[in-house]
Subunit: 333 residues, 2 copies
Amino acid sequence: MKRPTIRDVAVVAGVSSGTVSRVLNGKNWVSPEARVAVEAAIRSTGYRVNPHARNLAMSKSNSVAFLLTETQQVLFEDPNFAALVRGTTQALADRDVSSVLIMAGDAAEQARAMSYISAGHVDGVLLAFTSSGGNPLVRRLLDAQVPIVSCGMPVGGFEGRIGSVSADDAHGAVSVVQYLVAQGRRRIATIAGPPDTPGGIARLEGYRRVLASRFDPALVVEGDYTVAGGAAALRTLLAREPAIDAVFAANDAMAVGAIEALQAAGRQVPTDVAVAGFDDNDFATRSTPELTTVRQPFPRISSEMVRVLMELIGGEEPSAITLPTSLVVRGSA
Amino acid sequence: MKRPTIRDVAVVAGVSSGTVSRVLNGKNWVSPEARVAVEAAIRSTGYRVNPHARNLAMSKSNSVAFLLTETQQVLFEDPNFAALVRGTTQALADRDVSSVLIMAGDAAEQARAMSYISAGHVDGVLLAFTSSGGNPLVRRLLDAQVPIVSCGMPVGGFEGRIGSVSADDAHGAVSVVQYLVAQGRRRIATIAGPPDTPGGIARLEGYRRVLASRFDPALVVEGDYTVAGGAAALRTLLAREPAIDAVFAANDAMAVGAIEALQAAGRQVPTDVAVAGFDDNDFATRSTPELTTVRQPFPRISSEMVRVLMELIGGEEPSAITLPTSLVVRGSA
DNA sequence: CTGAAAGCGCTTACAG
DNA sequence: CTGAAAGCGCTTACAG
């Protein structure tokens, strides 16, 4: 009737509940015989540890939050988020820790998130650092000593206080722009990301580094990481400089928008204008032609985020990890 | 240094910890003076209740799972899921209960989900009933007495054992097919959903009911709810019966695929062939022309799911709720 | 290696 | 209306 407790297991196994707890927690101060007896008793009673009791006794929650500081809309439209949520959930599950998705898009939600997290529901938080929108919350979380690791280099002055793991944005941009140059492109424009995002900064810098003295501010337009934003940016670019023959967009969504706008303007991609993106997410293979882009290693980013967070929770110092990207050549450039 | 407990609040307020607990839980057996003193003490100490202690004492978790039995890929591509996850998370947060997203696509994940849930991490489960893929898990959950409510009528023989809330699929289909008839369409085909899904069954039935004696099996093709599947189904339809002048797709994604395939085949939408969908999700406004479709009231579905689940958790019987749909006329039909 | 016991921080009959 | 106390189910020094 009632769910079995550690005590029930103990009587069946003929030991004390302390011993049951020890085998449960993999301590090795237990004799082989006792261990065998306890394991059998666990099976025969159908015992499962009560997480609330364990959490109370150990004062930890065995759970972390994945915090979304963007508007909720964005989340489910952004394949990067999806990959990260999927990847980290998996990596966490492998360690038997659960994860809660927390949406904290507006101030009210952020307040709620803050009280939820600081109440001790989670041991740490995973963050996708896309803009500065979540900064106030991050600051408060930090003040409350909550372990945090972000995907993407922190941009709000949090360097060294939170863990981070990011793709090598600058180098990824360098490699793709070099590729465009090698293909003989002469007027290479870029659609940059928002300047308050790590990708918005570093990818532009990579572009600029390759072009060096040939860098022309007129060929830089800022986008908002959306398909529509990419299309709009492209039109601006075309108005400024009709002779562009290549565009490097700071993410795949904008690259898709650029392709659509280009085609609407009667330009062939890649014949007239080559287009390259960044991310290699679902957008990359949904456009015609498919995108030449820079791949972010999301599975590895996810597992590293989890590893670093666990270290932080364990009391270690925050580390900042950068992972290599790779160039994926498809039809668009 | 150490986080304040109920006891700290009690000494500051000059009462016993039992009284603090009573004001915390909104019991009214507490004098106004005591209440005021406690509330002040809570503020001055910065007290927050420890959820693990509370959960242990009350033996409940104040948390529910949103279970995804589809492959993980599907989730983040499906705007219906996104709307449901968003809506239920919100409704749950309003009641101060948290939610965990659990992906249980393959057998290994289902086993893990089972043990997570039956360990008592959550008080109940929210489910999006899209196919029969999750049936074995649902069955085991039911055996373990876990309260469940699904979106969509249960199809695996779970009627009456789990709560459910769904849009009125049959009536929604009736209204849109009647609309097509009223527009003067004569050869109305349908791309049905998979026959092991509630929508796959009821929407087809609504279509059939309107056509009655004019129903022609040759005009029915089964799709898989994806854009590509919709396009493929449309091509099959066109091969069978080039004279179709309208298509009712069982969801928006397939409707978009149908439009694309139609256009690729040189047919104008809606002039040559009218196309209607079902859902009114993001797909509906991303196609050209935009979709005429049946709106599912996702916000209401979400909040009803939560309400019914809370009832179930509270010991009441499972209820099955059907919510009305509405026809949304845009450019495609 | 193992048991008895204290403690984690709450809730809730039970008296009063 | 309120306090003292038991209980929720674990973990973990502390002895032995």
